[in-house]
């Protein structure tokens, strides 16, 4: 009987996280050695978060699509451009109410997703084709709306919802204290939640993992949270966008791992025929995955225009590839049915660290691309091989 995960099993499960940590340490060493400071400078961590917020959001949506059977959505970059263009037009050019404009933008994203989902799920046009068409179509519509021009700047009232920091004060000591205390509170919540879960399991007579594992996990998580909190506290505080990301990531993570429709996603990707014969409406599941992707692309667009303070015709170029890459780096199966939101996020952060680290090192942009290609392949190869090795043991 396997009562608990052995060290090898947990290594296998978290091999990509280990790769990420190793990469961070490696970059930090290189950056320090070349006398350019450190990867873990407070301002840089803050920067890393806002730089990669869009990948995290898109990767979350993309993961749901990939789960349904390795299906990808190539149109997200164009949808980001289109919704961004719409936001620029409504908020800057027409001066509409900001909340109403945000609502319209999200609705548009959802409608685009639903349109593509309809063709994919109910007419069974291959997702690759449907979204390739979408990639051209929505980019074209964005260009038409913008007439090839960039809209900027956005009103301060809009920007502060995405670009500001909490707490909103200039007193450095206060910022640090409040941020750190918040970190401690989150840690306490995590600890309380974990222990509470353990207790209820015990009470109901279910099997529980050894206390040592629970403690090890709590210690690791708390250390990570406190480290990030103290780094952010030394800069300007918690970026508002981080809160948005946390809500999305935790929400979707819970949805995929704990909800019935989430389980249906995995079942569809694992074996569509078996899912159908188990009474699952597979068409609806597939439709949902793509409609949701459109919605999250809308969210990413709103975050994007705030970060760049402009709506540009070229916005969102290659975003789809970043999101797809993040999912696969994070261990999602190209055949569907396997993968987690957490994994996709690790993949997104990995890509972000790679970009960020190389930029700090001052590596030429052309070289950056080439290196990124090799490193992405190497990371996935490592992941696949390490899983194989553990399996054969």
């Amino acid at each position: 009987m396997r009562h608990s995960l052995g060290i090898k099993d947990s290594m296998k499960k978290n091999s990509m996280l280990l790769v990420l940590i190793a990469t961070m340490i490696l970059f930090n060493g290189l950056i320090s050695a070349s006398g350019r400071g450190s990867l873990f400078v407070p301002a840089n961590i803050s920067n890393l978060i806002s730089q990669n917020s869009y990948v995290v959001i898109l990767a979350t949506g993309m993961l749901l699509c990939i789960l349904t059977g390795g299906n990808i959505d190539l149109s997200v970059g164009s949808v980001v451009a289109l919704v961004g263009a719409l936001a620029g037009t409504l908020i800057v050019n027409l001066g509409w109410n900001i909340y109403f404009s945000i609502f319209i933008c999200l609705l548009t994203g959802l409608a685009i997703g639903a349109w593509q989902g309809f063709w994919i799920a109910y007419v069974r046009i291959p997702p690759f084709i449907t979204t390739l068409a979408g990639m051209l179509l929505w980019r074209g519509v964005a260009l038409i709306i913008l007439n090839g021009l960039t809209i900027s700047p956005f009103p301060e009232e809009y920007l502060r919802y995405f670009n500001s920091f909490l707490p909103n004060t200039d007193d450095k000591a206060r910022v640090f204290t409040i941020t750190f205390v918040l970190g401690v509170i989150i840690c306490l919540v995590v600890i309380a939640y974990t222990l509470f879960n353990r207790q209820t399991k015990k009470k109901k007579g279910y099997q529980i993992e050894p206390l040592a594992y629970t403690i090890a996990r709590i210690v690791f998580l708390s250390a990570a949270i406190l480290l990030v909190a103290s780094l952010l506290g030394q800069h300007k505080g918690i970026p508002v966008v981080l809160i948005l990301l946390a809500v999305i990531v935790l929400g979707y993570s819970y949805f995929t791992s704990r909800s019935v429709p989430g389980r249906h996603l995995y079942a569809l990707g694992g074996n569509e025929k078996a899912a159908k014969l188990s009474g699952i409406n597979t068409n609806r599941v597939l439709f949902f995955a793509y409609a949701n992707m459109g919605f999250l692309a809308g969210v990413a667009a709103l975050v994007g225009v705030a970060r760049f303070n402009s709506a540009a015709p070229t916005a969102g170029t290659n975003y789809e590839l970043d999101a797809i890459g993040a999912c696969f780096i994070g261990g999602a199966s190209a055949y569907g049915g396997t993968g987690t939101v957490g994994g996709a996020i690790i993949g997104a952060i990995f890509m972000g660290v790679l970009n960020n680290g190389m930029s700090i090192l001052g590596i030429d942009a052309n070289w950056q691309k080439a290196v990124k290609g090799i490193v992405v392949l190497a990371a996935v190869v490592f992941d696949v091989l390490s899983k194989k090795r553990v399996k054969s043991n």
């Binding site: 704990r258 909800s259 389980r263 079942a267 694992g270 074996n271 014969l277 009474g279 699952i280």
Partner: protein, 514 residues
């Protein structure tokens, strides 16, 4: 005429846990049509796969001798070079390529870097006319019917200078006139000196074309009959095919049959692609509480199609007929509706249609009834773990934990997970399609025990099985299905293998003359 073309001597082939062939010796004479008959799973196809190199030399014991020369085939290509061509039951043609391209696939005319298309299509047309096909070789395979595709396969074999043509259930998916045409073609080839091996369990076809018949049962050759010595008698063949005792292989149970639970009347289903083809023709059956009812019939009789069409219209189109559960008429248009009406369908193909192989036992167990472990669409993982463990214990599934992927389980244990998945939906009516296919004798016994338990709990069970002893061993009542129609109904206590076979064959004869 009497020279030996091919000999297979003392062939023994074991799969993990199963001896598929046990010291089989077979000889084929030059220019004869040699039929191999036997029940499903008797070992006919395994034997032919050995001959054609699908199972390479070394993976079995015994010797293959062609024209007095011992052969060791490691690939299909090597056996083809010796003139052996096998046409499988499932056709191996590429639908979007033309007939000509398919015929010379892997055997292209011209040179490696320049295919000679004129030569290809000219030769293809010649061969097509030899098998009596008038189609141009330039049309795509997907545009011709299954019967014609079968002829293309034969033409493809001819293109390889075939000496021995092996046909594995060639008429299974053909209608009567197509089948007749194919059999006549074999006779025509014979008159030109071609040797064929025909695998079939349709005795009327076999008697019609074969010179000799070898009967295989449980991986052993029972007898070889020769037309010249004595005319074929079907009842003798049947006896040889099925004659074995069935004591002790099936657990006993207390039979307590209650009132009628399921009634299906005038159930008619058409093929989902071929609109005109009736798959189920006016089927009327009923099922009582606490009763195990079997549906017996040959492959292609429409058994699976029937139960799948019943289970939320998962198969077919233009479905008509009525279904009553406990006397109340119900409409089962989706799988969910069927599940809600307490029906469960355990598929014959657990790997393709039943289980998610890459997922743990736990997720497979709960998939069809997530409602039971969730509250407002949120799954309770602890409860899920618990119910899965309970089910594994109840079914006696051997595994390291419920988190083990189904992939890693043996066939018998996978079947238990699949059955457990459906028992977890708390059904009143279970449709079990080949519940013991491809699992060993011990696991079969355990599955029978579970079926008995379910019946004793008052559930109604419909069992489809190709293994007649199984049907006879566990069923209280048996329906015989042939070509989409119910052609017989008998009590389990009164039924015999001969009676069922006779029932089927008489019906086939009737269909053939009409």
């Amino acid at each position: 005429m009497d020279t030996l073309l091919l000999e297979m001597k003392h062939i023994t082939k074991t799969f993990p846990g199963v001896k598929a062939l046990d010291d089989v010796t077979l000889d084929v004479r030059q220019g004869e049509i040699h039929a191999i008959v036997g029940e499903n799973g008797a070992g006919k196809s395994t034997l032919m796969n050995i001959l054609s190199g699908v199972y390479p030399a070394g993976s079995f014991e015994g010797e293959i001798i062609i024209h007095g020369e011992s052969c060791h085939f490691h690939t299909i290509k090597e056996s083809e070079q010796k003139g052996i061509a096998i046409i499988h039951q499932e056709l191996a043609l590429v639908p979007y390529l033309t007939i000509g391209e398919n015929m010379f696939l892997g055997n292209e005319r011209g040179s490696y870097f320049r295919i000679d298309w004129d030569k290809t299509y000219n030769r293809a047309d010649e061969l097509l006319s030899m098998v009596g096909l008038e189609e141009s070789s330039k049309i795509a395979i997907k545009d011709i019917g299954v019967g014609k595709q079968q002829l293309v396969e034969i033409a493809k074999a001819l293109a390889k200078n075939v000496k021995v043509l092996i046909l594995d259930e060639p008429t299974a998916s053909l209608n009567d006139s197509e089948a007749k045409k194919l059999l006549d073609l074999l006779l025509e080839f014979k008159s030109k000196g071609m040797t064929s091996i025909l695998i079939s369990h349709k005795l009327n076809e076999v008697s019609y074309v074969a010179d000799r018949i070898t009967v295989i049962r449980d991986g052993q050759v029972i007898t070889t009959m020769d037309k010249e010595q004595k005319a074929f008698a079907e009842d003798e063949i049947i006896k040889a095919m099925v004659g074995r005792s069935i004591e002790d292989r099936f657990p006993k149970r207390n039979i307590k049959i209650g009132e009628v639970s399921l009634e299906v009347e005038h159930w008619t289903v058409y093929n989902p692609i071929n609109q005109g083809k009736k798959i189920c023709d006016d089927i009327t059956i009923n099922l009582h509480k606490g009763e195990v009812v079997g549906i017996s019939g040959l492959m292609g009789a429409g058994r699976t199609e029937f139960v799948m069409s019943l289970f939320g219209k998962s198969y077919g189109q233009d479905i008509s007929g009525t279904v009553r559960i406990n006397g109340k008429e119900v409409h089962l248009n989706t799988v969910q509706q069927a599940i809600d009406n307490k029906i469960a369908y355990v598929t014959e193909d657990r790997k393709t249609n039943g289980l998610i192989l890459s997922k743990p036992i736990m997720e497979n167990t709960t998939l069809a009834n997530l409602k039971a472990i969730s509250n407002h669409q949120i799954i309770d993982p602890d409860l899920e773990m618990q119910v899965s463990k309970d089910m594994v214990a109840k079914m006696g599934t051997k595994c390291s934990s419920v988190l083990e992927d189904v992939n890693n389980l043996s066939g018998g244990n996978q079947q238990k997970v699949l059955l457990g998945k459906w028992i977890f939906t708390e059904p009143e009516i279970l449709l079990l399609d080949e519940p013991t296919r491809g699992i060993d004798v011990g696991a079969k016994y355990e599955i029978y025990t579970i079926i008995n338990q379910l019946a004793e709990e008052g559930k109604s069970i419909l069992v489809i099985s190709s293994e007649m002893p199984e049907i006879l061993g566990i069923c209280d009542r048996i329906y015989v299905l042939s070509e989409g129609r119910i052609v017989g109904e008998m009590l389990g206590s009164e039924a015999s293998q001969e009676a069922i076979m006779t029932c089927i064959i008489q019906n086939q004869k009737g269909a053939k003359t009409s």
